[in-house]
């Protein structure tokens, strides 16, 4: 057996099984979901193998039959999900950026430990972390106890089951997603450039806007995209902290599968999320490539 041939056999040995596994159990399911989104829901749950574009029509506006009607509420929930995910991105950015900056200026040993501390909560059970926020935000919770003790409010403020709670919860959960790309961009920042900018008479704000911000932009974009994507499709955070009042598209999808039993419609909703995800991933890929070239 020639060397090239042996190498090829080794490569196939390594790649073969995992590739087949992922093709069957990752790509096939996604394709089937895509197919499902174009099928007709059966009357009593289940599905009829008949092409239909009305699942999308119900969300986007052209469905107008007896059983399949357009209802603006779906679009409204989708738009709200986009809005909440965007606000989560902005909040995480504001929360993480100065912290990443601070940590990047530490001594190496302390710095590694600080990064370890930032990533550690990611490994703490998601439910535990969200439950903690329920304890803080509920009417009898710590936040209200504190506010009333200080005298800022006489009656408990309703924090739980609001947009605020959902954004806060998602920000909390996704901090490592934003922090790590930001940090790796800020770490690469050339301090000499900052000094040069200051020496040339730029104010701190000008230096930040003209030097720091453009230099860390790749980190900002990458962090924003990988925070936005899981935030958009999230359904655990809105279920725990948003209750029935703040529904996101994830909740809607869950309902279609577990209570409404309209799988084709649920698939169409999921495809809507996937479309946004794919667009963002392609965008990120192109930006990363452009950055690599320059």
């Amino acid at each position: 057996m020639s060397l090239a041939r042996r190498k090829l056999m080794q490569l196939i040995g390594l790649l073969g099984a995992p590739t087949v596994f992922l093709l069957v159990f990752f790509f096939c399911p996604l394709i089937i979901m895509l197919v499902y989104s174009f099928l007709t829901p059966g009357l009593y749950g289940g599905v009829e193998w008949q092409f239909s574009h009305l699942n999308y029509g119900r969300i986007l506006g052209w469905a107008d039959t007896r059983y399949e009607k357009f209802d603006p509420v779906f679009l409204a929930i989708f738009l709200r999900s986009l809005r909440l995910a965007a606000m989560t991105v902005v909040t995480s950015l504001i929360v993480s950026y100065p912290a990443a900056f601070w940590i990047s200026r530490m001594r190496p040993g302390r710095r590694d430990f600080a990064i370890f501390l930032v990533t550690l909560p990611f490994f703490v059970s998601l439910i535990v972390r969200l439950f903690a926020w329920v304890l803080i935000l509920r009417p009898t919770g710590f936040l209200n106890q504190g506010l009333m003790a200080v005298g800022l409010t006489s009656a408990p403020v309703e924090f739980l089951y609001t947009d605020f709670a959902v954004i806060l919860g998602m920000t909390y959960v996704f901090i490592p997603f934003m922090f790590l790309p930001l940090y790796s961009a800020i770490e690469k920042l050339d301090l000499a450039q900052l000094e040069a900018s200051a020496d040339l008479g730029a104010t701190r704000l000008q230096t930040f806007r003209k030097v720091v911000l453009p230099a860390t932009m790749p980190g900002i974009v990458a962090g924003s995209i990988i925070t936005f994507i899981p935030a958009l499709g999230n359904f655990i955070v809105p279920s725990v902290l948003g209750g029935a009042k703040v529904l996101m598209i994830g909740n809607l999808i869950e309902q279609q599968f577990l209570s409404a039993r309209n799988w084709p419609f649920g698939s169409a909703l999921a495809m809507l999320v996937m479309t946004v995800v794919l667009v963002l991933l392609l965008l990120q890929l192109r930006l990363a490539r452009r950055e690599a070239q320059s």
Binding site: Q10, L11, L14, L15, A17, P18, T19, F21, L22, F25, F26, P29, L30, M33, V95, P98, A99, F101, W102, I103, D112, F116, L117, L120, P121, F123, V124, S125, L126, I127, V128, R129, F131, A132, V134, L135, I136, R138, T140, G141, F142, Q145, Y172, I175, I226, I229, P230, G233, N234, F235, I236, G250, L258, W263, G266, S267, A270, M274, V277, L281
Partner: protein, 272 residues
């Protein structure tokens, strides 16, 4: 100078924000107040006694109806799933990482990009896609479907962890080994494998933890009768909030922290 002070202050607040909620859960898991869990009125270990089935002074109305046996069963299910999934994902993820890092082939870049997708895809999409898939091909929802389903995205985590280690591992060591007459199999066993072992171990622990914690994907493909720990707690939360959860949460916290600390330790060792 002032700016620097402000930044430090902000940084400390940042860590308070990250850790205070978790700490509150831990502290209040020792709260003796059975009527209003939000008000501290003394130290107790009763909630832990309750979990482990010891005698307590807690009245039944203050606790969930679930028996400890149900909780243990959920823990057992979670451990079974996590062990199988993490071992399988580690083998697959490591094989893929080795292939991409050590062989030149046209699809290498494609694989590298593709392995990112399962990690950041919203988990609900993967969850329902798997549900539809299993039902369509007639596979009954069981422990097996959970293991298969979780592996689809955990392979990626292992892949990334092992790849990072491989990227920093000096290939000249492998070349030296080959020059000294070792067969490829020997080189792999004696040089490559020990070299990337910390990465493999880290990837395994990482996939183990994530599997233990996975709620969304498992939620859709578990079927009835296969309750993992996160699903069990999810069910409890849906029936209202009782202090018992604090204690369960604290125990879970302890468990994950130990594993995560070991895992992150191995991952950080690559810098040395």
């Amino acid at each position: 100078m002032i700016l620097r002070r402000l930044l430090s202050l902000y940084g400390l607040l940042f860590f308070v924000f990250i850790y205070a909620p978790i700490l509150l859960v831990v502290i209040y898991s020792f709260n003796a107040n059975t009527l209003n869990m939000m008000i501290w009125n003394g130290f107790t270990l009763d909630w832990y006694r309750q979990i482990f089935g010891f005698e307590t002074t807690i009245t039944d109305s203050a606790t969930y109806v679930d028996s400890s046996a149900q909780l243990y069963a959920a823990v057992r299910t979670s451990l079974t799933v996590a062990l199988s999934t993490s071992v399988f994902s580690t083998v697959c993820g490591t094989a893929l990482a080795l292939a991409v890092a050590r062989y030149r082939f046209r699809l290498a870049g494609f694989y590298r990009t593709l392995m990112m997708v399962p990690m950041i895809m919203p988990d609900i999409v993967l969850g329902i896609a798997l549900l539809i898939f299993f039902i369509t091909i007639g596979m009954n929802l069981s422990l097996m479907t959970i293991i298969v389903g979780q592996s689809t995205f955990l392979i990626s985590y292992v892949f990334v962890t092992v790849s990072a280690r491989l990227a920093e591992f000096d290939t000249s060591l492998e070349e030296a080994s080959a020059d000294l007459g070792a067969t490829p199999a020997q080189t792999f066993r004696k040089v490559t494998l020990p070299g990337i072992a910390p990465g493999i171990l880290g990837g395994w622990l990482l996939s183990f933890i994530i599997s233990m914690d996975d709620l969304v994907i498992t939620y859709f493909i578990a079927g009835t009768g296969n309750t993992t720990l996160p699903i069990h707690i999810w069910g409890m939360l849906r029936r209202g909030i009782k202090p018992e959860i604090n204690a369960i949460a604290t125990l879970m916290l302890l468990f994950t922290l130990v594993i995560a600390a070991v895992g992150l330790y191995f991952r950080s060792r690559r810098q040395k």
